[in-house]
Symmetry: C2
Subunit: 403 residues, 2 copies
């Protein structure tokens, strides 16, 4: 029987049974800053969270709610403009109030509301504005609201990011939708970003967690903008079973594929929308001793200011890639290493192919740049990480973010 | 009896028995690019080298020469403009030829010549030009040549860096001089830079190695410009015993102090001259579980693009410092952490002192910015790392370096 996964219009409300809204409540000086996503049936929920030890209040509260409600959730409420991080006991109280206020409108226990914040660290959340915002948002909930919701979670993002797919297979038809915010402070493990995913398939909590972890590993956790990891990162998925399809072990792979398609698109959109980014860069590492070492090397290359500025300048400076691989702390054999830029081999067995550099420079003038290095260990560890180039614009954005 | 360590005019030739020269041999398209330092008596020598696995030919050759000549050296020859890295067997032959050519003029075995290169990776060294340059340099050796030598080792450095001290103590009087090059690609362990030090004290090889390692730990290995570690880093010290003083266990501390004074000045000069740098930033970490963890956290903060751009913009964004400490991979207690900028406390026990931010911003408008974070573990590990801010100029320099 056929298996189809196709891109469809819509974002987080493409799966049935979900509504969303994005409103302005005055946390930011201008623009939308509060998003609400509500599932009409109670949904199964799973999440992955920042590994930063300076963890923000909304992350603590959402983890607690997922646990107390045993992975059941009715709504997600998100604000931008204030991270509610480094805000102590008051911050925890404000995050809990945000959930309780939402629960009051939705008509569910507060533990069934998940809370998320993004923005400046070390500023208290204005609970009064948030409460008003939740009221506005609840009144305007709709399927069309996915567009304003995706806009309301942005900080320095240049554009909103959402996407959806329709999946059809032996187990039936279902939909997966999602929205994300990124910009600066994006780094794998966890990808230091916010991602919200929905599906109208019915998925048992354990399968849902497994699928989210599996997919995040090669999508949200395989991107980096500047090597930072924020205090507020989270990716949440809600599966409300409002459609016809139940995911079991047989249809699990199909579900993972659909979820991966959505997350991959959101992850690449985050990189493309990185602060000051003008190019999408894929870094593929092969010939590593293990896949874990391949990922370490790929991240080091992806986060190297010297590599990122060379990509920005369109300079096929493969020597910088070798130099970063050499200091990445993983096994590396210079004598057997190879570097390719856009499939053009520039270095192999300590031989230099200078005459091919113009062709590599040509490839680097495109919007998508592919770097590949073989670490020469003779083993077969591989990993791919995506990043963006490093421009003067990044410096301007981050030097002037608050002032 | 009195102990004096005083700054004196001069650089690498301030200690007696040393001469130097810097010449143009055409490796760079313009400017000086070959430096020679010669000691009239054979000197004791020690070195520390890059930990990058993509190690360049001159590093391999110099390590070998130190070993074969049992820590005795007569000369150091350095070129800029070409790193002679990733150049395979030919690169090794070229580095050995550079030593042999110098040895021919000086009249010593080739193993008593130490070789160093800095510049673009993956370009073969033009041995013919180097040989001519060595001849010119040898003819112009003088004590005044320290200035041109310091200039000849520069790549994108904005100015030459050299300094010297005179030390007087119970053991007698001696001098220590030094020159360094830095700019981009500066990171601790090893500091990814070139440093050359001389002294007219007599120092046994084992004491000389011990002193260099001890001093480097808090100077060259405690600075970072962009987190990179190059293929070519080395710091060499020559002690020729041409003066009256012999260093033994009793006078060891005095020697370390004098060497530290020179290395500290060179290290800070490297940071101040970092690519696009406009501010010198000290990052002091206290309250870490161990001093090793303090250093890891300090480096993470020093290399964070978000912190470095905030410093550039004069924004007292202490939240970014907390966020980086939280993801640095060391023990950290948010509830007991403290952040000070220029001694102004902005965060303590999860309390935020927003009203003090203007005073902190005032401090950040100066040329030297002091950041301090207490990791709140209750232990007493401390470390200080120096770095510079991150400007749009850094991006311009590195996007356009080769093209």
């Amino acid at each position: 029987m056929k298996r189809i996964i196709e891109r469809i219009d819509g974002g987080i409300t493409a799966p049935t049974g979900f509504e969303a809204a994005g409103v302005a409540c005055g946390i930011k000086t201008s623009g939308l800053d509060l998003a609400l996503v509500v599932s009409s049936p109670p949904a199964r929920a799973a999440g992955i969270f920042t590994t930063n030890l300076a963890v923000a209040a909304p992350v603590l509260v959402t983890r607690q709610h997922l646990e107390r409600a045993r992975g059941t959730a009715r709504a997600i409420v998100i604000n931008s403009g204030c991270a509610n991080a480094c805000t102590g006991e008051q911050g925890l109280a404000d995050a809990r109030a945000m959930a309780a206020d939402t629960a009051g409108y939705v008509g569910c226990p507060p533990e069934q509301v998940l809370v998320s914040s993004t923005g400046v660290i070390g500023v208290p959340l204005d609970s009064h504005k948030i409460r008003q915002g939740i009221g506005f948002a609840y009144e305007t909930l709709s399927r069309e609201g996915r567009a304003t919701a995706a806009e309301a979670i942005m900080t320095t993002d240049p554009w909103p990011k959402d996407t959806a797919v329709r999946a059809e297979g032996p187990a039936g038809t279902f939909h997966v939708g999602g929205m994300a915010k990124g910009a600066g402070m994006i780094e794998p493990n966890l990808a230091t970003m916010l991602g919200f995913l929905t599906t109208d398939a019915a998925v048992a909590p354990s399968l849902l967690r497994r699928a989210l972890n599996e997919v995040a590993d090669t999508t949200f956790n395989a991107i980096t903008v500047d090597g930072e990891s924020s205090t507020n990162d989270m990716v949440l998925v809600l599966a409300n079973g409002h459609g016809e399809t139940t995911i079991d072990d047989t249809s699990y792979r199909m579900f993972v594929d659909a979820l991966h398609t959505v997350c991959h698109q959101l992850a690449l959109a985050i990189v493309k929308g990185g602060e000051g980014a003008s190019k999408l860069v894929s870094i593929r590492v092969i010939g590593a001793h293990t896949s874990e070492e391949a990922k370490v090397a790929a991240r080091a290359i992806a986060n190297s200011p010297l590599v990122k500025t060379a990509v920005h300048g369109g300079d096929p400076n493969w020597g910088r890639i070798v130099a970063v691989a050499g200091r990445a702390g993983v096994r590396f054999e210079l004598g057997r290493a190879q570097v390719r830029i856009g499939n053009i081999e520039l270095f192999r067995d300590e031989q230099i192919f200078t005459d091919r550099e113009p062709a590599a420079a040509e490839h680097m003038r495109t919007g998508e740049v592919a770097l590949e290095i073989d670490l020469g260990t003779g083993s077969h560890g591989t990993a791919t990480v995506w990043t963006c180039d490093f421009s003067a614009e990044y410096v301007h954005i981050n030097a002037d973010y608050r002032t």
